[in-house]
């Protein structure tokens, strides 16, 4: 590899990385001005790409449709990968990326749904996305919309927030099959999750699986596995934040 602006090492070195993500590195560079990105900034990148590229049934043309799939970015810190994916998929124009964080830019260091095309929620404070996702599933179900799926992305340290445990403890017994939680595990929770993150979801009645968060095929398989009558959690393990 000679072009250092494409130096997203974890993605490119993975045997199961797919073409298409190379663009994302360049798009992230427009925001950060950096040639390389910290693991924290890219921890979500592969999982987001697989979701938007192959799983979510939503496009710039259908962002207003009631029947669309919803993706809620709860982990609003370090949203560059999210913005890059939205730009790559045409939800927002690439030109916006260069203004990242500036006064007149719609793209802040935490996303605001009223400013970012395609963003389902504004986030930044931890522990809001999963309860909002639970309510979104309830709202869809109450309107007879059983097809749309709701995805929410949280971090392993974000899982510390009690609000998430309120949501996990409710969604399992309530059988919210349309609900999907993607946990990006970069080992950033101070006390960790003895017994594994997936076990917490399983104990609450969820279907759960842990995969390599850089392996696109493994992510895709975990994202699309059937889970009748139960919500689904996918724990995507990536390099430790402080490694």
């Amino acid at each position: 590899m000679t072009n250092t602006t494409d130096a997203l090492i974890p993605i490119h070195h993975h045997p199961h990385a797919r073409p298409g993500v190379e663009r994302l590195s360049r798009l992230m560079g427009l925001m950060t001005g950096a040639e390389k990105h910290s693991p924290a900034a890219t921890s979500t990148l592969d999982a987001l790409w697989v979701l938007y590229d192959r799983v979510l049934r939503v496009s710039p043309e259908t962002v207003g449709d009631v029947g669309r799939d919803r993706f809620l970015l709860s982990k609003g810190h370090g949203p560059m990968a999210y913005y890059a994916v939205l730009a790559a998929k045409g939800f927002l124009p690439e030109e916006l990326l260069t203004g990242f964080g500036s006064y007149d830019s719609p793209l802040g260091h935490h996303p605001d749904r009223t400013l970012v095309p395609g963003a389902e929620i504004g986030s930044g404070s931890l522990g809001h996305g999963l309860p909002l996702a639970v309510g979104s599933v309830l709202g869809l179900r109450a309107q007879g919309l059983t097809e749309p799926r709701v995805w929410v992305l949280i971090g392993d340290a974000e899982l510390d927030e009690g609000s998430n445990h309120e949501a996990i403890g409710y969604a399992g017994p309530a059988g919210l099959e349309q609900l999907h939680t993607l946990v990006i595990d970069n080992s950033s929770a101070t006390y960790g999750w003895p017994g594994g993150i997936a076990s917490r979801f399983e104990a609450a009645g969820w279907s759960a699986e842990t995969v390599d968060g850089r392996d696109h095929e493994a992510l895709y398989a975990a994202f699309t596995a059937p889970h009748p009558g139960r919500p689904r959690a996918v724990v995507a393990r990536v390099e430790p934040k402080n490694a």
Partner: protein, 299 residues
């Protein structure tokens, strides 16, 4: 007579039959009253268990899909406990919803301070765009609730066991009602404080205004009343004293004036007993109010 909370249950149960957009989110409190409604509308009457953060977050999610959520529990657990959820899952997301509380400032005095929420309206005051209804009678509660459910905005309906003997007409746009006109000052009675205010001001030459909606604050009516009388204004609120003092001062900014904010004191009484005893404890009974209103106006 039924209580405001009884009326909330009967009215909301009917509204759920009529309006497919409406969803009710509970956290155990009042679930017995809604059993029938839950059987009829299992997808729209949702009890999340004793989970108040989820109560509000799930309400926000329902609103994101176009539903009109009504969220209900005791005021302490509805407004104070999940306050950041109210701030972020509604206002910041740009969606609306209806909060309906019970318990108020001391509806269950024997329960102690854990179940008292005199600061709820002041707390919501730190957020933008909330309409705050403080009905003084179950009939008023029903009318205000129906208004709240029909809209799309952010509404708090504060229910209480405290009630005036008779209802007053409630009609949008929810301005203050002039009940009596005088020259020596203006007294604003909020919701269930009205009967005590009327008794306390008996024979005084003051204007009495009645408010069942305090946010938005009816600056125009207060300004007009204060211009027509001596511009000494007393606010009598059934929650934290001074909650609306800033709103009144803003309303009277162009007029030299004085404002006295009466209500529940910040200091914990650490007393049990009855509602009436707490009214006396906070000086909100007719005798206590009269003493404080007259000494303010006599100065």
């Amino acid at each position: 007579m039924d209580t405001m909370r009884d009326r909330f249950i009967s009215t909301t149960s009917r509204l759920l039959d009529e309006d497919p957009r409406l969803a009710l989110v509970l956290a155990e409190i009042s679930k017995d009253g809604f059993q029938q409604a839950q059987r009829r509308h299992p997808d729209r009457v949702i009890n999340v268990g004793i989970r108040e953060q989820l109560l509000i977050g799930a309400g926000g999610g329902l609103a994101l899909t176009g539903m009109r959520p009504v969220m209900h529990t005791f005021a302490s657990f509805l407004v104070e406990r999940p306050f950041e959820q109210l701030k972020l899952d509604f206002g910041h997301q740009g969606v609306g919803g209806v909060l309906v509380s019970a318990g108020a400032s001391y509806d269950w005095p024997a329960g102690g301070f854990t179940h008292m929420s005199p600061g709820d309206v002041a707390l919501l005051d730190t957020l933008d765009g909330w309409t705050v209804h403080v009905p003084g009678h179950p009939d008023e509660a029903e009318a205000l609730l129906r208004q709240a459910v029909a809209g799309d905005d952010l509404v708090y309906v504060r229910l209480s066991l405290q009630s005036n003997a008779a209802p007053r007409p409630v009609a949008a746009p929810n301005g203050f009602t002039t009940l009596r006109e005088g020259r020596e000052g203006v007294v604003v009675a909020v919701g269930p404080m009205l009967d005590n205010v009327l008794a306390a001001t008996e024979g005084l030459d003051v204007t009495v205004l009645y408010a069942t909606t305090v946010r938005p604050f009816d600056a125009e009516t207060l300004r007009r009343a204060a211009s027509a009388a001596r511009p000494d204004v007393v606010l009598v609120e059934p929650y934290l004293a001074g909650t609306s003092t800033a709103a009144a001062n803003d309303a009277l900014a162009t007029l030299p004036h004085r404002v006295l904010g009466l209500g529940v004191s910040r200091r914990e009484l650490r007393k049990y007993g009855s509602i009436d005893e707490h009214l006396v404890g906070h000086g909100l009974d007719p005798a206590g109010l009269r003493l404080r209103v007259t000494s303010f106006l006599d100065r």
